[in-house]
Symmetry: C2
Subunit: 496 residues, 2 copies
């Protein structure tokens, strides 16, 4: 091996960062799972101090020089990919002036805090001035990031979550979806009317739900030697790849929420647990993008767990843990997970309606960043699009309308597309898996998920960020992201 001193030094720096980020992850997980309320202030100070330290390491001018030098060193292909990802990571930390970062932190913290009160009161008027301030800073941020990277402003924001993916691609893909989705939804609602699927009736004691969750995690291959399951207000997958902490929330009246949350988060968790071990501390060893991460959770939740084959397999397991009742029959569960019902709330949307919520948000936030619309235009646009895509009236209902998500309040713009890109990737993976494993449904129906795990491991998990998203998809499935697979999946599940 030729000497690569700059590269080696970069790797040492990013390994050090990984070790400090370990405590950021632990501090955040603990804050959501264990921390008593009185611990909040000191935890926040400790996390802020650690954040400063991490930022200081990331913005050390020596790192920039090292990146430039490493790019000239004789590296192999994974090494070059690592330097590419290190440059990306460095840019994210360095492209914005600290006064903007600080102003953004202040404005989003204020806006989020007020939003928590205002949302419940439909207080759009109170929310608007805060949102305007956040949008102004997000626009400035997008312009600066775009100029530095040669991207249009919205693309610069999206690039942080979906490196290499551009809004022109998203627009083309979503544009295709828009041509058929509203019709699909109407047809599916009609068809499913004839299929009543009552929900199971609780109470389902938390301990039994937890045991069921652990059983399904085991079935889904979660490695309990390197992770655990806990409860928190909002389910999430946290921790570090070497020790993945996933959470769910329990509602004694509704086992399904926790059950599907566990499955969804287990998809995220298995990606993290199976990232390449030898580069776990380095940017090239991290998950490819938000969308690819979501494609893992949706592979587990939408492609596997909501499939009739899996539901038939798992129904007796559910009954074993929660007791028998007609609503827990395999047939009823299959009907239950084919139910389609347009609803105001994104996070409660079914698989078919979900993309409509995303397309609406993508269209609005992109126009917002470009300056084509102003924050005060949002409610009318929201209502018009909800009517067009889902046939719902949202006038005056800010709480369940344009104030429902936390994203814009905290300045998180450019993230929404990842949810639906992930759903599409997952559908495309399964089209590929079915080509390779023609009896996939029979195997899933027998509880044998090895073909799925093997395919994801070989094609996605083990690569981390080695390939750009487009190349990753082509290598894995033989083609770039193609919404036809998603369409075919939805047709087969909801319109058959």
């Amino acid at each position: 091996m030729p000497a690569t001193p700059a590269y080696d030094s970069l790797c040492a720096t990013y390994t050090r960062l990984h070790r400090f980020r370990h405590f950021q992850s632990l501090g955040m997980w603990d804050g959501a799972v264990n921390m008593p309320p009185g611990g909040n202030e000191t935890r926040a100070s400790a996390l802020a101090e650690l954040g400063l330290l991490v930022h200081g390491i990331e913005t050390d001018p020596k790192v920039k020089d090292l990146i430039g030098a490493a790019e000239q060193e004789p590296l192999d292909e994974p090494g070059r990919a690592n330097v590419r990802e290190i440059r990306r990571s460095w840019q994210r930390a360095n492209l914005l002036p600290s006064d903007l970062v600080q102003a953004r932190t202040m404005a989003t913290s204020r806006c989020e805090h007020a939003w928590r009160e205002q949302r419940g009161k439909h207080d759009w008027k109170g929310f608007l001035p805060n949102l305007r301030e956040v949008v102004a800073l997000v626009r400035r941020e997008a312009r600066l990031l775009g100029e530095a990277q040669g991207l249009v402003p919205y693309d610069a924001l999206m690039d942080r979550h979906e490196p290499g993916v551009r809004s022109a691609d998203v627009e083309r893909i979503f544009g295709d979806v828009k041509t058929w989705l509203p019709g699909f939804i109407r047809t599916a609602v009609e068809r499913r009317k004839a299929d009543p699927a009552p929900d199971a009736r609780g109470p389902f004691p938390v301990e039994r739900q937890r045991a069921l969750g652990l059983a399904v995690m085991k079935l889904l291959g979660f490695d309990f030697e390197r992770g655990r399951l806990d409860a928190s207000t909002h389910p999430f997958c946290g921790g570090v790849p070497e020790d993945v902490r996933l959470t769910t929330r329990y509602d004694e009246g509704d086992f399904a929420a926790s059950f599907m949350a566990v499955i969804h988060e287990t998809g995220h968790a298995r990606y993290e647990q199976n990232l390449p071990r030898d580069t776990v501390a380095l940017p090239v060893g991290r998950a490819r993008s938000a969308g690819i991460h979501e494609s893992q959770s949706l592979s587990f939740e939408m492609q596997v767990a909501r499939s009739p084959a899996f539901l038939r397999f798992i129904a007796p397991v559910i009954r074993e843990h929660l007791g028998d009742q007609p609503a827990l029959s395999a047939d009823n569960l299959v009907r239950r997970y084919r139910r389609v019902q347009p609803d105001l709330i994104r996070v409660e949307a079914d698989e078919l309606c979900y993309p409509a919520h995303i397309i609406l948000r993508f269209e609005i936030e992109r126009a917002l960043v470009d300056g084509a619309i102003e924050p005060e235009d949002i409610p009318a646009l929201w209502d018009a699009k909800m009517r067009e895509y889902l046939g719902l009236d949202t006038r005056g209902n800010y709480k369940d309308g344009c104030m429902q998500d936390i994203h814009w309040a905290i300045g998180l713009v450019g993230y929404f597309p990842s949810y639906t890109l992930g759903a599409m990737c997952a559908a495309q993976y399964f089209a590929a898996i079915r080509r390779a494993v023609p009896d996939l449904d029979a195997r899933i129906g027998a509880g044998d998920l090895q073909p799925v795990f093997e395919w994801l491991r070989a094609n996605i998990w083990r690569h981390g960020s080695r390939y750009e998203t487009d190349e990753l998809m082509r290598r894995a499935t033989g083609e770039a992201l193609n919404p036809a697979h998603f369409k075919a999946h939805l047709e087969s599940r909801y319109l058959s």
Copy 2:
């Protein structure tokens, strides 16, 4: 206020250290309570990286200059106390050359690892070479620390846990105890023979034991807004003063172990939770010493919880949680906690025999550091002292003899005295509380512990490290540590 730039800068540095130590505490607590085995390696790397960072801040030459400058600044008395404690903290981190620290880490890690195997096999022969290496390094360490601080070597080690306390004082105090303790033990064993006190019979489900533990923590004033109870292999009190994490371990056959562990750790926890809030991040705001810390846990466990008054009050609460049985009657519990039985194991010793275990260890480890004995002399000395103090034969039983504790294996020398100094301080506090509150037992018997909390808060907790131990004791109780109170307490509980 006059300008004190050096002092202010020192406070900022130590506040920063406090924030990083937050993650050290969290990482260690999580490691004992939550972490799956596979997370160990990455946690160890992350803690090592954080340890390096903290050490780097502590040993920054600028800090030494700031301490010198702050000592010349016009500070008020708490400020001067803070600088004194900062200098202490700085010395602990700076007096040893890094090659010695590293050699010590290696040797103790090797010795501890081997000890875990060797202890169970009575393998003194295998243990001895490792222990010799550790002792050689501890001697070098003690000599260096002693020379730098003008202390004899053993005192320099003890000073890290009991600042300002000297082995001459300990020898005088323990010398007094030795004149009466062996006789007390023999008499008590005789007297108690007539008092059979059967143990309660399980199984006691973990959930009920936990509920009982939470109930007693509440009664003992634990602040659940700033702390929590969990389970771990060995009970401990961890976390940070703003968020105290205490643990216990559950044995379904023996509720008493967990019950008393919870009470003991709650004593530590209340000290931490009630340290002066305005200096929580600074050395002056920390607990005074290991012995004063132990005196809090022993105030709760020995002075309050094992008192007949408290046992009579708590017996119905125990029965409410664990069900009724004759062994849980108040009278039986009172007899149970007056039982005296010399035993080989320190951590299982009763209150009366415990000091004998400590005196033995103090005498041996001091001679070891001074070079008066060598590691190979330990077993014979151990046996002679166990016969003299407790009337027990330990020949050939290394596991339950001189290999029972982890302390020497990890190079922790100079710590043992703190356990018994703490027990003595606690007895002295309660003599003072009884003078101030003549009906103390009646109030404890009615479940009213406010007089205890108020006294400890006013005299110990709120002072942190503002006063040296000797002054703290004089201010609190009117005299320096005086083992007569401990003697009177033991007489009244075990010889009456």
